[in-house]
């Protein structure tokens, strides 16, 4: 096993934040991480969602949003920081993007590229797959 391949299919803020937290620390600790955002997992990354703060959240997510940004960086800020330190790549699912009629310009600037299922499986071959 040489790292984690995380499938992010949830739009729930707490899940997305948990993924960014764990993935960021792993990558910064020299454990390679690849994240495949698919289905509803793409939605929190939409620029209009980030700018409006209109996330799908429960009580813990609500507390995150109440916290000052400098004290509690949200998932996209954590990913951006991790990319500057470690080996972490994020891919947006092509199929889900097609269904949503969006392209990468509609999302915050954390994705390395778009990817299909075969591309993800090729990259996940030597990694432990985690489904969120």
């Amino acid at each position: 096993m040489s790292g984690y391949a995380i499938v992010l299919a949830s739009r729930e803020l707490s899940r997305v934040q948990a993924v960014s937290t764990i993935a960021s620390v792993a990558a910064a600790s020299d454990v390679p991480v690849q994240i495949f955002a698919t289905m509803e997992g793409l939605l929190p990354f939409r620029t209009e969602t980030v700018e409006s703060g209109d996330f799908d959240f429960g009580p813990v997510g609500a507390k995150m949003l109440e916290a000052d940004g400098a004290e509690m960086p949200l998932f996209y800020e954590q990913f951006a920081q991790a990319k500057g330190i470690g080996d972490i790549e994020l891919y947006a699912c092509e199929m889900a993007m097609d269904l949503l009629e969006t392209d990468l310009d509609d999302y915050v600037d954390v994705f390395d590229d778009t990817l299909g299922v075969s591309g993800f499986l090729n990259r996940a071959r030597d990694k432990q797959v985690v489904f969120v």
Partner: protein, 80 residues
């Protein structure tokens, strides 16, 4: 001032930052530090106080001391 025997080469002030902020700040400094560098990490996050030593143990660096300053902790780390 800290009640510690260690005089840090680098001080990281991560007070008020939540998990994993203090750890990420520390990792960034550790990666660019020479072996033998003493780093003081200041954190007010109790989770980070517990979690940082776990990371140090796995990464092979030394936790020299943890000082309770009342409203924050100072973790003294030596890089290897």
């Amino acid at each position: 001032m800290n009640d510690s025997d260690y005089d840090p080469d680098v001080t990281i002030d991560s007070r008020d930052a939540t998990c994993p902020g203090p750890l990420m700040d520390l990792i960034g400094k550790v990666k660019e530090a020479e072996p033998g560098t003493v780093i003081e990490l200041r954190t007010s996050d109790s989770g980070s106080k517990s979690d940082v030593p776990e990371w140090l143990d796995e990464a092979g660096h030394d936790l020299l001391d943890t000082v309770d300053n009342g409203d924050y902790w100072s973790l003294f780390v030596r890089t290897n």
